[in-house]
Each structure stands twice: as C-alpha cells, then as structure tokens.
C-alpha cells in the first residue's frame, strides 16, 4: 500500500511549492515516488476512477478540466454521459445513485461549470445522496486573482457539501479521490467536491494503488453501543400505540427487509416520508402511507396519537412535523440515525441510537424478541381498530374537473395501474410530485426518485436519465423509468432530452400539464385570496386543441425536435391509449402531454406552520378536530374548490 502523499489536499496554495516547510512530508514523497507508473494528475484521475470501480460518469468539459477530459479515451473503463447543463449532470448522478446505491460521479469545468453544480450538490446534501463532484480549477498560481472562469467552489460549497477538497498537487489525486469516495458513501451519505487545479492535472506523479487515506477527524459510528438497544426494546414492550416513522436514511441503508421485519415483530404500523416511499410495498397492511403536509390522514393521525414513535433514518423535517411543538405530543421517541447531529435536533429523544439503520435494526430485533419471550407482546388490537377506522373513513380522494379536462390524480392512477411492477418512478417538484407519492402503488424499495429536502424543480428529467443509465448498468434495462413531471418543472431542464436521445435512455415521460405552477397556485388559492400572481404558464389549454392558440412550448413539437415520440391527451380514452403506447415503446423516449385541470388540489393538507392535528382531509373537514368550526375559518372559506363530484380511492 502506498504511503500517504504529501500534504496538499484541502490545503490552500503553497507559497513556495518546494519549500521545506513539510519536513515530514519529504520522506513520504521520496518513498512513494520511487514506486508506481509515471503519469500526469489528469491520467491519475481517470485511473483512480476506474480503480474505484466507477462505471458511469456525468458531465460537460471546459477549459480548466480539459487535461482530465484529454485523458479519457474510447477504451477508458467507464461510460461517459455528456449532459447539456451541469446542473442536470448533477441530478442525473443523483438519480443514478438513488436507484443503484452507487456513488454518482460528475466531472465538470471550473467557474460557471462548477457554480452550475451548486444546486445538485445542495440537493444531494439534503437528501443524503452519495455524490463525488470533480470540478476543474485554474492554475495554482492564478488562484485568488479573479482569473478567467475562476470561482472559489470549495468556499461556495462549504455549507452545502459533506466535504470539499482543493487539490493543488498531482501526487494527491489518487489519495484524495479514495478519500472522497469513502466520505461520500460512508456514514451519512452526501456530496463531496474535489476541486482539481489545472496544476494538479498537468503535474507529473507516480501512480500507485490502493491508497491509504488520512482522515483523522472522520470516523462514523455504524453500530449501536451500550444499553440503548435494550432501552429501545423495553419501550416496545410497554407501548400500546407504536408507529414506525421511516425516512430516506432507511432507503440509503438498504433496510427494507429490516423495517418490514420490525413491523411484523412488533405489530407497529409503518408511515413513510416522501423519500422512503416503497421501502415496504404499499400492499403490506402495515403501510399507512406518507405523513405530514400532504400525507394520508391515517399516517398523520397515527403519529399524532401514538405513544411510541420510532424514527428510523428520518430527520423530523418541518414538512413532516408541522408545528414541531405539537408533533406527536404523547409519544416517547426512539431515534435511529447514523448522523448524531440529527438526534435531538428538532425533537426531544428518549432513546437515541446512533448507527447504520440496517445494522441497528439487525441488532435491535433479537433484543425485542428476547424481551417479548419474557413479557409477551402488547395487545395492539384497539390501536389497529383506530387506524383502520381512519383508513376507511379518509381514503385518498379528489374532485372531478369541472372544465372537461383530465383529473391529474386519475392520470397517476392509470400510470400506476398499467406500469410494470419493477418501474422506477421519478418526479419533478410540485403538485404532481405529491400526487405521484400519494397515488402510485409502490411495490419495491429504491424505485422512487424525488427531490425532497431542497425541492428542486428541474430535477425530474435529468434524474430519470440517471436512473435509466443505472437501470441499464445494474438491471439490464429491466426496470423501466417513468417520469411524472409538471409543465413548470419540466421546462427547467428540458434540454436534457438531447441526452436521452444520444445516450439511448428511452424514458416514459408524463407531463401533468395544468398550464400553471400548480403548487404555488394552490397556495395562492388558499392563502392569498386567489390572487394568481405570475403562476400562469400558458403552455397548454384544456379541451380540444385550438390551432389558433399557440401553446408555448408545444410539448409534442418539442418532443419531435429531440427525436422523441410526443403524444397529447385531452380525454381519458386518449390518455389510456397514450400510456399503452408509451409502455410498449422501448426504443425512444415518449412524452405524453396530459391536459389536466388547473384547479386540482392536493389533499389532505396541513397548512405550513400548523399542528398536524389541523390536517384537513378536504375543505372544511378536519378529522382530528372535534369541533372543526372553531379552527381556521379563513382557510376553509377560501378552499371552496368544486366538490360537486368526487372520486374516492380505496386503500
């Protein structure tokens, strides 16, 4: 194993690169430089990626990353996916990482290329997605001079990345990459930036592999220690209204089996966050759906009334908790998370367990079994009766459109019903995202890709491309990818259709085209007196197409421009036909422009900042209130969306 290379990583610009400041470093330079193959830092970068097992890389070239791109050849051991926008390269790497469990890798240039990566980096940070983002940087001698295309990306990303490295010396390239991948993947996964100066890319070094990492300040805890497992198991034996509140951390930890096992063992229902949809199939009786702002009544209510809340890889986000002071008021809390800083951050915790979710659950389950064999299992019948009562009384429902357009929720139902059980579902951000999460009948874990923490519009198309690349790589394309997008979100990164064409990633895209920024409009309806300020997109009208009115853009023509199949659906018959055609088309991307009702609303809803007890099933109906008329009359009077006809969905 090679000795560590000299101190350069993370460090700033050495004043005199060859000075003798690092006496101790000298020895390791001489010992490591006597072995290995001579090459440039750029060549070492490409070699390191291959040695790290990287098979797919996303990005766009540019001046200060040119040496690295020059080192990529036809026989390089990874596939390179050329994006049309760096932000999209980042989201594609995210979609790839979420669905395959691998580290997503991006290679982009300095300055604007790097700053375009900030959004996906922040997005990956919020949703704990493992990414390694390699950015080009100007020459060491130009750093800090406002050189052409210079941006301090290490400085910019401090607050939104798990870690950022600046590499000024070719020697350090393989070690820093080893460290970057380890940091991205281990502990709480996240994005790591490696800013490679041109100096480091062009410098000569001797390549050796593997590399020894130097990370004295980094040692994630994966296994629970001490009495906490017993404490947690005890709480299960004395609780009569338990709930498992499962978050994205459980998905990252691949804990689908363990979560199901825990639920079966304890009889506790499972509620999920947006990120963990599908971790246990919806068909499982224990799954109550998503909780929080747009969660099901059953899930939100169960948490509000539980006496034991088991947070599993979840972080008590405000979209989940509503007013946190009134969240699950009677519950004792067990919190399992790999990140100690999440525990107790928003909510007092009775039993804190730091560790990797699947590892912790594997250790906790036998402990519960042991206590159950002594004390028996608490009787949960009346708890389940209450829960099932909520489920039956408040199934997901929606209002029928009054303008002859399609109900977006109906479209999602049909997409779900007709899709292969292996489908990977991807969404943009907005109402369509909530409907997708609520309505899709999730059958498998790691088949749901959606921007949660940051809520990034424009995430959908590139993430779907990344998911499809992952499907090709790991599942021999056997997992088809459906993107459910909004007309607004889609337009933020629609240029990536070119990538879908050239990279042969045949996606199925459903645009729920309501011709407005629907989610914003919903808030305007409810909280801003229907003042629809700047939420009209004018990109489609409901009803039969009127040639005299231009839809900007015309999504069918746009599809054609990028070599995709474009279909428009105004009626249910057209919609069903289009979905069948899309499911049958596997040689190119299909875009369906579903004309849906712009006044459709996402229900249930907990208004921002309210207690989850205020969950509103539909306008005027607050299931957790005994005297609904006393509460928030303003909200109710504004929310008089058409409710003449209603479709109920069981389950």
């Amino acid at each position: 194993m090679a000795l560590p290379t000299p101190l350069q990583a993370f460090s700033g610009v050495p004043n005199t690169p060859d000075d003798s400041a690092n006496h101790s470093a000298k020895t390791s330079v001489s010992s490591s430089s006597s072995i290995g193959e001579t090459m440039t830092g750029a060549q070492a970068l490409v070699r390191s990626l291959v040695d790290l097992g990287v098979e797919d890389v996303f990005g766009i070239p540019g001046g200060y990353i040119l040496p690295a791109y020059d080192a990529i050849n036809d026989d390089t051991g990874f596939r390179f996916i050329l994006s049309r926008h760096e932000q999209a390269a980042g989201h594609a790497a995210e979609g790839y990482a979420v669905t395959t469990g691998r580290v997503g890798v991006c290679l982009v240039t300095s300055g604007p290329g790097a700053t375009n990566m900030v959004t996906p980096i922040a997005d990956a940070m919020m949703d704990s997605v493992p990414l390694v983002v390699i950015t080009g940087q100007v020459n060491v001698s130009s750093i800090g001079t406002d050189a052409f295309q210079e941006a301090d990306i290490v400085g910019i990303t401090y607050p939104v990345a798990k870690h950022s490295f600046l590499v000024t010396n070719a020697e350090d390239v393989p070690r820093v990459l080893t460290e970057a991948f380890y940091i991205a993947k281990s502990g709480r996964p996240g994005p790591v930036v490696v800013d490679l100066t041109k100096t480091a890319q062009t410098g000569e070094m001797r390549y050796s592999w593997p590399q020894r990492m130097i990370l004295p300040g980094y040692s994630p805890t994966t296994k629970a220690h001490g009495h906490v497992l017993t404490d947690a198991a005890k709480l299960f034996t004395t609780s009569y209204r338990p709930v498992l509140y499962v978050g994205g951390g459980a998905v990252r930890s691949n804990a689908s089996r363990e979560v199901k096992q825990l639920s079966e063992l304890t009889g506790a229902p499972i509620v999920t966050t947006l990120q963990s949809r599908g971790i246990v199939p919806n068909a499982d009786h224990a799954v109550l759906g998503m909780l929080g702002m747009h969660g099901t009544v059953a899930a939100t209510a169960a948490v509000q009334r539980c006496d034991l809340l088991v947070a599993i890889g979840a972080r008590f986000d405000d979209r989940v908790t509503g007013n946190v002071a009134e969240f699950a008021p009677a519950a004792r809390v067990i919190h399992i998370d790999i990140d100690p800083a999440e525990i107790g951050k928003n909510r007092h915790v009775d039993v804190p367990i730091v560790g990797d979710v699947s590892q912790v659950l594997d250790d906790l389950i036998p402990e519960i079994e042991r206590l159950q064999s002594v004390h028996g299992r608490p009787e949960l019948d009346s708890w389940w009766k209450t829960i099932d009562n909520w489920r039956e009384s408040y199934p997901l429902r929606y209002d029928e459109p009054t303008d002859g357009s399609l109900a977006p929720q109906w479209v999602v139902e049909q997409l779900s019903a007709k899709a292969s059980p292996d489908t990977i579902w991807v969404s943009g951000v907005g109402q369509h995202q909530m409907w997708a999460s609520q309505i899709i009948d999730f059958k498998k874990t790691q088949t749901w890709v959606s921007s949660g923490g940051l809520g990034t519009m424009g995430y959908g198309l590139p993430a779907a491309i990344g998911a499809e690349i992952g499907s090709q790589r790991d599942f021999a394309s056997k997992k088809p990818v459906w993107l459910i997008d909004g007309d607004g979100s889609f337009q933020m990164t629609s240029e990536e259709l070119a990538v879908a064409f050239f990279e042969h990633t045949p996606l199925k895209i459903a645009i729920l085209n309501n011709s407005v920024y629907g989610m914003v409009r919903q808030w305007q309806t409810l909280f801003y007196d229907k003042h629809y300020s700047k939420t009209n997109l004018e990109d489609g009208l409901a009803g039969e197409h009127d040639e005299s009115v231009a839809d900007i853009p015309d999504f069918v023509t746009l599809a054609k421009a990028y070599g995709c199949l474009g279909i428009r659906a105004f009626t249910k018959e057209q919609a069903l036909e289009a979905i069948d055609l899309a499911n049958a088309t596997n040689d190119r991307t299909v875009i369906i422009d579903f004309r849906v009702w712009k006044d459709a609303m996402v229900w249930p809803m907990v208004p921002a900042g309210h207690s989850n007890d205020d969950v509103m099933y539909k306008p005027g109906v607050m299931p957790l209130h005994h005297t609904p008329e006393q509460h928030d009359t303003a909200l109710e009077s504004n929310a008089d969306a058409a409710d003449s006809t209603t479709t109920e969905k069981k389950g």
Binding site: F10, S11, T27, Y158, I214, G217, S219, A341, K345, V354
Partner: protein
C-alpha cells in the same frame, strides 16, 4: 457519539476547546458554521499547539445548553475537526490578554497607576496624554479592571479572546485518535 460534558443548564458562558487540523480553510469552515446558526460567539482564538499538525480553537459563547449541543455536534461533522470538549470551569485555567489605552494626564495619572498596581498589571507605554496597560487574567478580572478604567476614558481597547486549558498533566491532543495527522 462523541463524549462531551453536557452543558450545565442555565450557565450562560461556555468555553469550547476545538482541536483542528492545522491547514488553510479550517477556520473559515468553523466560523461559517457559527455564522450559519446565527450563534453569537463571545470570543474566538486560534493558534498552533504543542503539535505542528494541530491547531487549537478556543471559543467562548453565551448560550443555552441545547443550541450549544447542536453546534458541537455540527462542528464534529467537519472533517478537519479532531476533537471538541466543553471545558468545565471548575477544572480549567482560562486567561485573556487585553491592551487598554487610557486617557491619563498629570492630574490623574497617579490614580490610574494605583489601579494598575492593585490589579498587578503592567504599563507598557506612557505618553503625556495616555497610558497603555497590558493585563492578563480571567475574564472577570479584566472586566473589573476595565470597569474602573472606564472612569478615566478608554481611548482604545483590544482583547485577545480567551484561551484555556484543563488543570493537571494531560493534553487534549492525547485524545486525537490515530494521531497520524503528520506525514502529509
């Protein structure tokens, strides 16, 4: 989880000792974390330690225990942070240096010098219209000194921020696991 003494609830002033890798950018990350949490720090000092590869940051802040705990956990997530402890005031030597330029003329110079003597501090510069005083000590002593000198008019004032070590023979850096920060 990392061990640190839970802050005593209600005790306002807390002193944190943070061992970090001695390299550029570390202070910016640490300071940025405080800034992001709108965490008002009272003083912060950074300097080399007995080990070339490690710097020590001493932070004092007036805060509640809960936000402080969150800041400690967040600081622990920074890769360059090697060790954090919250120092127990009962078992800590804490010192700060101040330089105080006081308005002092023939009439009141002797009064000021009397205070200087009383506090066992030093005069490091004399001018017909001013005296510059160097004082070290725990925060409380310096506050008291400043309170008295205030009556004469303080022209200029600079404080170093507190530095602190625990009593007894051990070094905090002994707790840095792996101890392999050298050699880079």
């Amino acid at each position: 989880m990392v061990n640190y003494p839970i802050s005593q609830i209600g005790s306002g002033r807390h002193t944190l000792s943070v061992l970090v890798e001695n390299r550029p950018g570390v202070l910016a990350r640490v300071a940025g974390l405080f800034a992001r949490r709108a965490f008002n720090i009272n003083s912060l000092s950074v300097s080399p330690t007995e080990r070339d590869d490690i710097s020590r940051i001493t932070v004092t802040a007036d805060v509640e225990a809960v936000p402080l705990e969150q800041v400690i956990k967040q600081l622990n997530k920074l890769l360059h942070v090697l060790k954090i402890v919250e120092l127990d005031p009962d078992n800590t030597v804490e010192r700060e240096l101040v330089l105080i330029k006081v308005a002092a003329n023939e009439r009141n110079r002797s009064d000021v010098l009397e205070i200087v003597k009383l506090f066992r501090v030093r005069v490091v510069d004399v001018h017909p219209e001013s005296l510059t005083i160097e004082a070290t000590g725990a925060g409380g002593k310096l506050d008291a000194l400043l309170g008295l000198l205030d009556n004469y008019g303080i022209i200029e004032l600079v404080r170093s921020g507190a530095v602190a070590v625990t009593r007894g023979p051990r070094a905090l850096s002994e707790k840095v696991i792996g101890s392999t920060v050298t050699g880079r």
